[in-house]
C-alpha cells in the first residue's frame, strides 16, 4: 500500500476557520476594495451607535420627564434662547434632541429592516428549497404565487398587508403591534427573490452527485435540503439579504413617512422625516435634514456593501 501514497502539499496543519478566512479570496478582494471598506465601516458605525444608543445619546427622547418644551426648535450648535442649552443637531418642536431621536429612530429602522429580511429570508429559503427539491405541483403553486406577487410593487403589497393586518388587530393594541405588523408586511412583500434564488440553486445542486450519495445512504429529504443543499445555496442568499436590508429600511421609512408605519410614540427614521418635513418651510431645516442624511447613509452603505458582495461571491467575475 505504501506505493499508493500520494504527496499532498501542506499537510498536518488543520487550518482554523479564522485562518482560512484570512487567506480566502473573499477577504483578499475585501482588502482591495476601498468602496467595500468604507461602506463596511459606515455600516458598522451606524449599527453600533444604534445598538448602544442608550449609552451614547445625551438624552432619552422617549422619557417625557427629561423633555423641556422650552428647548423646542433649538438650531444645531446654538444655545437655546431660553434655557441656554445647546444641541449638536438641534431639537424638534417638543424640545427633543434630534441627535438622540436619530439614534433611537435608527434602532427601530434597523430592527424592523433586519427582522423583516430575516423573516423574508426564512420564508423564501424554505419555499425555495421545497419547490426546487420536490418539483411538481408544489413547485408550480409556489412559483405561480411568486410570479403574481412580483407583478405588484412591493411597497403596495406591504401597504395592503399592513392595512389588512391592522384591521384585524384590536384598537388598544394597535400601537404596540404596529412594529410587528410592519415587519410582517415588509417581510411578506420580499420573500419572492429569496425563494427564486434558492430554488434556482437547489435545481442545480440537487443534480450533483453528492446529493445522490446522500440519498443513497438513506438521508431524509429534509436533512439533504438543510445540511447538503442549503450551505451551497447561501452565497447568493447573503447578497440578496444585504441588498434587501437596504430596501427594507427604505420601505419601512416610506411606510412610516406615509403614516402607516411606526407610530410617533416609537418614531423610526421614516417617522422622523415625516415629522421633519412639516417644519422644512418654516425654517427649521435640521429636523428633516439630519434624519434624512442618516437614512441615506445607512441605505447607501448597506447597498454598496451588497453590490460588492455580489461581485466578490460571483466566481465568474473573478
Amino acid at each position: 500500500m505504501a506505493e499508493l501514497r500520494v504527496e499532498t502539499v501542506e499537510r498536518a496543519v488543520e487550518k482554523g476557520n479564522w485562518q482560512r478566512f484570512r487567506e480566502s479570496d473573499f477577504f483578499y478582494s475585501f482588502k482591495r476594495s476601498p468602496v467595500a471598506i468604507v461602506s463596511f465601516a459606515v455600516v458598522c458605525i451606524l449599527v453600533l451607535s444604534a445598538v448602544f444608543a442608550p449609552l451614547i445619546a445625551p438624552t432619552n427622547p422617549f422619557d417625557p420627564a427629561s423633555l423641556n418644551l422650552m428647548n423646542g426648535f433649538t438650531p444645531p450648535m446654538e444655545p437655546n434662547a431660553f434655557t441656554g442649552e445647546s444641541f449638536f443637531m438641534g431639537t424638534d418642536d417638543q424640545g427633543r434632541d434630534v441627535f438622540s431621536t436619530i439614534l433611537y429612530g435608527m434602532r427601530i429602522s434597523l430592527f424592523v429592516g433586519a427582522a423583516a429580511v430575516l423573516f423574508a429570508m426564512t420564508l423564501g429559503i424554505v419555499l425555495g428549497l421545497v419547490s426546487g427539491y420536490f418539483g411538481g405541483w408544489t413547485e408550480t403553486i409556489i412559483m405561480r404565487i411568486a410570479d403574481v406577487q412580483l407583478t405588484f410593487p412591493s411597497i403596495l403589497v406591504a401597504m395592503l398587508i399592513f392595512g389588512i393586518a391592522k384591521g384585524f388587530t384590536p384598537v388598544e393594541y394597535r400601537d404596540q403591534m404596529a412594529i410587528w405588523v410592519l415587519i410582517l408586511a415588509i417581510g411578506l412583500s420580499d420573500w419572492v427573490q429569496f425563494a427564486r434564488v434558492v430554488r434556482g440553486a437547489t435545481l442545480v445542486e440537487k443534480r450533483k452527485e453528492y446529493v445522490a450519495a446522500a440519498r443513497l445512504i438513506g438521508r431524509s429529504p429534509w436533512a439533504i435540503m438543510v445540511k447538503h443543499i442549503l450551505p451551497n445555496a447561501l452565497s447568493p442568499v447573503l447578497v440578496i439579504a444585504t441588498i434587501s436590508l437596504a430596501l427594507a429600511i427604505i420601505a419601512e421609512a416610506t411606510l412610516s413617512f406615509l403614516g402607516v408605519g411606526a407610530p410617533p410614540t416609537q418614531p423610526s427614521l421614516g417617522t422622523l422625516i415625516r415629522i421633519g418635513q412639516g417644519f422644512l418651510f418654516s425654517g427649521e431645516w435640521w429636523i428633516l435634514f439630519f434624519p434624512a442624511c442618516t437614512l441615506l447613509a445607512l441605505a447607501l452603505s448597506v447597498n454598496l456593501l451588497g453590490d460588492w458582495l455580489r461581485d466578490a461571491l460571483n466566481p465568474r467575475l473573478r
Binding site: 499508493l4 500520494v6 499532498t8 499537510r11 452527485e209 443513497l216 438513506g218 447538503h228 450551505p231 451551497n232
Partner: protein
C-alpha cells in the same frame, strides 16, 4: 459461486412528454423513453461485472436502479436473494441496501464542497449512529491519502485524490457491492492507473463485488471478470473479457471494438462505422441495431432477438454464430 445480484427483465421507462399545455397546443401525445429494456444479468460474488456501451445506452440507469436511486418500471432486482422492490420485511431491505454503495463519475460534483473530508467520509456511518471515532483517518490511509487530510475541504484536492475520498466514503459502511459509474472517466491516464489499482487492491482486501460502468473498453478489459455490452438499453452481448475481445459475436460489439482507438494502432485505417445511435424515444423495430448492421436480414427488422447462450457468450442477435 453464487449470484450475488440477479437482474431479471429489468426495464425503465421515462416520461419525457412536454408539459400538458404544449402537448395540447401542438397536438402531440405523451412521449416515453425506454432507457433500459428487459435486461437479464447475474453478478457473481467477489467479481467485477462491467457494463459498457455508448452514451445513452442505459448504463447509469441500470446502476441507479441497482442502488435504489431509481425504481424500475418493470422486472426485478434481487440482491443477496432479497427482492428489493417486493420484499415486505423492511429490516431485510435496509440490511441489503446498506451493503450497496456507489462511486460516481464527476469527482468535483460528488463531494459536498462545504463539508470537511472527515464529515463526508463518516456520513454513511453517522446517519446510522455508528461509531465514527478515527474512522475517516483509517479509511484515508487505506485509500492512500494521509490521516491529516481529514480536516481539509474537497477543493484542496486534485481529481484523483477526490476520487480516492469518494472510495473512502463508499467503504465507510463496509459494503459488499460497489456500483462504480465511470469512476475514472474524468481522470488523466496516469491518475486513472492509480485509482484502478487501488480498486483492485480493495476488492481483494475486502472481498468486494463491483458493478463497473464505463465506456472505455481498455479499462473494461483490464478490470472485468464479465462484460455486458449495452445498446439502446438492451443487453446485446455478455462474455468474459478474453472471449469478448477475441471473438466478439454481436455485430455491434465487433463494430465497437473496431472503432475504439488503440495506442498501438499507428496510422490504422478503419472503416468508420456507419450511422449513429437512433433516437431512444422511437427505437427501430426488431433488432435495435439493424439500421447500422452490415449483415441485417428481414427477420432483424421484424423480430426482437432474445438473448441466448452461444458457447461462452450470451448474445442477442438472430444471425450470430
Amino acid at each position: 459461486m453464487t449470484a450475488y445480484v440477479t437482474v431479471k427483465g429489468l426495464s425503465r421507462v421515462f416520461d419525457v412528454s412536454k408539459p400538458w399545455l404544449n402537448r395540447v397546443l401542438e397536438r402531440r401525445g405523451k412521449a416515453f423513453l425506454t432507457a433500459v429494456s428487459e435486461v437479464d444479468l447475474d453478478i457473481e460474488e467477489r467479481t467485477t461485472y462491467a457494463l459498457v456501451g455508448e452514451s445513452g445506452s442505459g448504463k447509469s440507469t441500470i446502476g441507479r436502479m441497482l442502488v435504489g436511486l431509481l425504481r424500475p418500471t418493470g422486472g426485478e432486482v434481487e440482491v443477496e436473494g432479497v427482492n428489493l422492490d417486493r420484499e415486505t420485511d423492511r429490516a431485510k431491505v435496509a440490511k441489503v441496501r446498506g451493503d450497496i454503495q456507489m462511486i460516481f463519475q464527476d469527482p468535483y460534483a460528488s463531494l459536498n464542497p462545504r463539508w470537511r473530508v472527515r464529515d463526508i467520509i463518516v456520513e454513511p456511518v453517522a446517519v446510522k449512529s455508528g461509531d465514527t471515532e478515527g474512522l475517516a483517518e483509517r479509511l484515508l490511509e487505506q485509500v492512500g491519502l494521509h490521516a491529516a487530510d481529514a480536516g481539509k475541504f474537497p477543493h484542496e484536492f486534485s481529481g484523483g485524490q477526490r476520487q480516492r475520498i469518494c472510495i473512502a466514503r463508499a467503504l465507510a459502511s463496509e459494503p459488499r457491492l460497489i456500483v462504480c459509474d465511470e469512476p475514472t472517466s474524468a481522470l488523466d491516464v496516469s491518475v486513472q492507473a492509480q485509482v484502478l489499482n487501488l480498486m483492485s487492491d480493495l476488492k481483494e482486501e475486502f472481498g468486494l463485488t463491483y458493478l463497473l460502468i464505463t465506456h472505455d473498453l481498455t479499462v473494461v478489459r483490464h478490470m472485468a471478470d464479465r462484460i455486458g455490452v449495452l445498446y439502446l438499453g438492451r443487453l446485446v452481448e455478455e462474455a468474459d473479457p478474453t472471449t469478448l475481445f477475441e471473438t466478439p459475436k454481436h455485430p455491434y460489439t465487433q463494430m465497437l471494438l473496431n472503432a475504439a482507438p488503440r495506442i498501438d494502432g499507428f496510422g490504422r485505417e478503419v472503416d468508420p462505422p456507419q450511422g449513429e445511435i437512433p433516437d431512444p424515444i422511437n427505437p427501430p423495430p426488431g433488432c435495435a441495431f439493424h439500421p447500422r448492421c452490415p449483415i441485417a436480414r428481414d427477420i432483424c427488422r421484424q423480430e426482437r432477438p432474445r438473448i441466448r447462450p452461444l458457447g461462452a457468450t450470451r448474445v442477442a442477435c438472430h444471425l450470430a454464430e
